[in-house]
């Protein structure tokens, strides 16, 4: 039996210890945010944090997460207000969106280690995350933006999300920047 904490909740797995963490999260815990892309750790769509470090959950057996803390995109914030998510919203990074949870988890891990990465740092850290739609430019820009947001939040007494999380589709479609541009 394997015990682990997923997004702060204690879980136990009695099945195949070789089952990749990805399929445990998706099929057993119904956490669908981490995606399957390759099954070989080549594309990064399945990236989650294992004790704060980014791992490719498609090629990490559940047994490797025994007694560890796992964070998935669902556990990053309760309301989409993590600075990386806010930056992603502001730049409207996703196209199809499938790889974005993995991109965001890799980006968070980078920023936790390096709060002000330069372009080369970003390219190195994000190189394992494929995006077939080609959102790389906006991913890079959003990481810079998230670094700025985090820095400015740190200097402010009260933090305020820069982009409001909206509920309905219509609410989402309000003009950005007050419709100016």
């Amino acid at each position: 039996m394997i015990k682990l904490k997923v997004n702060g909740v204690t879980r136990q797995h009695d099945g195949d210890p070789d089952m990749p963490l990805l399929w445990y999260l998706r099929d057993e815990l119904d956490l669908k945010g981490a995606k399957f892309g390759c099954g070989m750790g080549l594309c990064g769509a399945c990236t989650v944090h294992l004790n704060g470090k980014p791992v490719r959950s498609c090629s990490t057996p559940v047994s490797a997460a025994a007694n560890a803390q796992v964070t998935t995109i669902e556990g990053l914030s309760t309301d989409g207000t993590h600075p990386v998510q806010v930056a992603w919203q502001e730049l409207d990074v996703p196209q199809c969106g499938y790889c974005q949870a993995g991109q965001i988890m890799s980006a968070c891990a980078l920023l936790a280690k390096n709060p002000k990465p330069n372009d080369a740092d970003i390219d190195t850290a994000m190189n394992g995350n494929l995006c077939r739609c080609g959102t790389y430019l906006r991913v890079r820009a959003a990481i810079h933006k998230a670094a700025e947001l985090t820095a400015s939040n740190a200097t402010k007494p009260a933090t305020k999300p820069a982009a409001k999380s909206a509920s309905g589709a219509g609410a989402n479609l309000l003009p950005r920047n007050g419709g100016k541009k």
């Binding site: 099945g15 099929d27 196209q95 969106g97 970003i122 959102t135 430019l137 219509g170 609410a171 479609l173």
Partner: protein, 750 residues
């Protein structure tokens, strides 16, 4: 309402060639049809207090439900097309709810393909919104007993000139009583009145996507479902001889195995056939499949070898072939020319490799199928599943999830039929998720092509005669096994419509046979055809020692509209409405060159700019790209400037994002992607050997310059791709002197 008959080949061709029939159907459907196809197939919009057309419902509380009948695979159709309707309705976006349509012919074509969601439904959605708006205004006028001319819809209300107003919700039941206005009575907003069109609105699914809450095909579940992993013949056309599933069944979690019948007749969208392992988890199904022992009969495609096939295609294009366009007398000009130049080009098969592989869950029960799939074409799902199970199309209910990329792969619903067949066999809902290996090894591949080009060189290095000859297995082979030559829609994609001003010009097409399933991939035949044409014209510029931009403009000639004949199908649109306009082509070339700093940045050793321009999906695109080639032959792309004229734009930010993405997609094609076969088997299997651009390989910067235009809207999702590879190759030629004539580049510069 116009019914869309299922004649696979024709339906397929119709979609690529023209969706006009469907648009008429959609219009008829929008205004004459007030019910759903079957009791089960009723949308929330249909059920609303007022349902003026199939795309719109208005509730008494003012909630406006807009149906999105096209699939969202990242191109922004869900975020963009409904805006067109809401704008003319003058609805308040905050009170709009989007509902994704199930597959149903009443919506018109749902095949989200061919970069046509906007251009084929722009008028329909404008009319749908404007019709409902007039009816609301008339309902308010009747209620107040004032002339309609004194009433105007404004942001979810109808306002009288006196200032009194009624909400859309309050008016819904009254508007329902109003006669439907004729098309001539409709009034559309002017561009100055737009509140949403032309603005950079955030995308509809943005928040769900950054929170990990978007539901894709791979995420869809049905209660009690089991999981399948399917072993298929490694060679296309191999049939199941026998199999031993003893070890597979011994894997914990494996429930049973099921055979899927061999593919018979035209390939179409039928399942490939094989042996499915059914299990209680994705992982158990995959592990069970590894333990299967399967023997396949030898396929007629077992000798397929990409190296040999390349030679056969090249031999074909070295000989005269079927003429698909002829201007003047090319042979006479070649005979008397003092100087000629010729070149051969080659481009390999490609796999779509969307980040999300194809996936579907289906339940067969009492002669009906309900399924959820990441499909670009839910009506094709209905047809394909119905055919595979011998049930009626109306008995297939297809729900469309978000798509983790599509690029044309998800137009072909073989995987949904697999799930439905398996569900029928096991009596439970079945989830089919293709592995990446399945995706790369069993794709409907972008075809492999060889091109031969020859020009007679006249004064100032300009061509006086131009011959272009191409051969490739056609997409037609997927629908008609006896197909030999390219289809008219493939020739239309940058082969019989090269807009150069050359007095003698001939285009030819030679035969080729397919040995794998051939399908359409983002921008289709334009990829290799633009590669040859745009590379060869640059070769001629180099030969003439002239500036590539200046030479390209010279060969393109004066601004004019080219009167192509009836063989040129122009995506089913008339040349009056969507002319081939060299003036617009010149504009994008000049803009891309200017923005790239072309005039100032002269080539240095290992660093240079390159240019290519191409019209496809009725859109004009020019790409100016800067490349750096290091001593080891590695290519880096610091900057790409893309100029676009796609006519009327609804959301400029989504246009920009599509072209940013096209820059990356085209870079993969140029630098690293390629599928090859040996002994009939595909040699690649995952992202280590089927490579696509990563962040550090993609262009560092892509600047998209969108030309403001009030021309009718044209395509956006695909037309950015074709000019990218030749622009990169032209830049490499300028930087290194080496001309790339075969894709991908990989280590050719080492």
């Amino acid at each position: 309402m116009q019914k869309i008959e299922f004649v696979p080949r024709r339906t397929f061709l119709a979609h690529l060639v023209s969706s006009s029939a469907f648009v008429i159907g959609a219009r008829a459907g929008a205004f004459d049809f007030n019910g759903a196809t079957t009791a089960e197939m009723v949308s929330d919009a249909d059920k609303a207090a007022w349902n003026p057309n199939v795309y719109l419902g208005i509730e008494p509380d003012g909630k406006v439900i807009l149906i999105m009948h096209r699939s969202e695979m990242g191109t922004g159709s869900r975020s963009v097309l409904p805006v067109v309707l809401a704008e003319e309705l003058d609805a308040d976006w905050k009170r709009v709810t989007l509902e994704q349509a199930i597959g149903d012919p009443k919506y018109g074509s749902q095949n989200t393909d061919g970069s046509c969601s906007i251009r084929d439904f722009y008028d329909t959605f404008r009319e749908a919104g404007a019709t409902a708006r007039i009816m609301l205004e008339r309902a308010a006028a009747a209620k107040w007993n004032v002339p309609t001319s004194e009433c105007k819809a404004q942001n979810h209300f109808v306002v009288h000139k006196s200032g009194k107003k009624l909400g859309f919700g309050e008016l819904a039941s009254l508007a329902k009583q109003q006669p439907v206005p004729k098309k001539e009575e409709l009034k559309f907003k002017t561009a100055a009145e737009y509140r949403y069109v032309g603005k950079e609105l955030p995308t509809a699914d943005r928040d769900n996507l950054v929170n990990g809450k978007g539901i894709f095909g791979i995420d869809a579940i049905m209660p009690g479902m089991v999981y399948a992993s399917i072993e298929r013949s490694p060679v296309f056309g191999g049939k199941l001889k026998n199999f031993d599933d003893k070890d597979a069944k011994a894997v914990k979690g494996v429930l049973q195995t099921v055979t899927i019948p061999d593919l018979k007749g035209p390939t179409m969208f039928q399942p490939l056939g094989g042996v499915a392992v059914i299990a209680n988890s994705t992982w158990a199904a995959a592990k069970g499949r590894e333990k299967l022992k399967v023997e396949w009969s030898e396929s007629p495609n077992a000798a397929y070898d990409s190296a040999k096939f390349k030679q056969s295609l090249l031999e074909t294009v070295r000989k005269p072939q079927k003429v698909v366009r002829n201007v003047g007398d090319v042979d006479a000009e070649f005979a008397k020319a003092a100087k000629t130049h010729e070149a051969e080009y080659y481009a390999p098969h490609l796999a779509h490799a969307p980040m999300e592989p194809v996936a579907a869950v289906a339940e067969y029960k009492d002669g009906k199928v309900v399924c959820h799939a990441n499909t670009q074409n839910p009506q094709a799902v209905q047809d394909t599943v119905a055919q595979a199970l011998g049930i009626k199309k109306e008995n297939v209910e297809c729900h469309v999830t978000l798509l983790g990329g599509g690029f044309g792969r998800k137009s072909k619903p073989d995987y949904v039929a697999e799930a439905a067949l398996l569900s029928k066999a096991v009596g439970k809902p079945v989830k089919v998720t293709w592995s990446r290996e399945d995706d790369i090894r069993f794709d409907y591949y972008h075809t492999v092509a060889a091109m031969y080009m020859k020009a007679a060189i006249g004064a100032n290095g300009k061509p006086t005669a131009w011959l272009q000859r191409v051969a490739y297995p056609s997409i037609g082979t997927t629908f008609n096994p006896t197909s030999t030559h390219a289809e008219a829609f493939e020739m239309m994609m940058g082969w019989n419509d090269v807009p150069f001003d050359i007095p003698n010009h001939r285009a030819e097409n030679g035969p080729a046979k397919n040995h794998v399933r051939i399908g359409w991939l983002r921008s289709v035949a334009n990829i290799y055809q633009a590669f040859a044409v745009s590379s060869f014209v640059d070769e001629l510029a180099n030969l003439a020692k002239r500036d590539s931009v200046e030479y390209l403009l010279d060969v393109l000639g004066a601004p004019r509209k080219i009167p192509f004949g009836k063989d040129y199908i122009n995506h089913g649109k008339s040349l009056e409405q969507y002319p081939v306009d060299t003036g617009r082509m010149r504009n994008v070339i000049e803009l891309a060159a200017e923005k790239s700093g072309w005039a100032k940045k002269k080539p240095t050793k290992g660093r240079a700019l390159g240019i290519a321009a191409h019209r496809s999906f009725l859109t004009y695109v020019a790409v100016a790209v800067e490349v750096e080639v290091d001593n080891a032959g590695r290519v880096r792309i610091p900057q790409m400037d893309i100029a676009v004229d796609a006519g009327t734009i609804i959301n400029p930010d989504r246009v920009k994002s599509q072209f940013e993405g096209a820059g990356v997609f085209g870079t993969s094609i140029a630098l690293m992607s390629g599928i090859t076969a040996k002994n009939g088997e595909i040699e690649q299997s995952n992202f280590h050997d089927y490579q696509v651009a990563r962040m550090n390989e993609a262009p560092f910067q892509v600047n998209v310059h969108v030309i403001k235009s009030d021309a009718p809207p044209a395509g956006v999702g695909e037309p950015g791709v074709p000019p990218v590879a030749p622009a990169i190759c032209n830049a490499i030629a300028a930087a290194t002197g080496k001309r790339i004539r075969e894709l991908p580049i990989r280590r050719q510069l080492a």
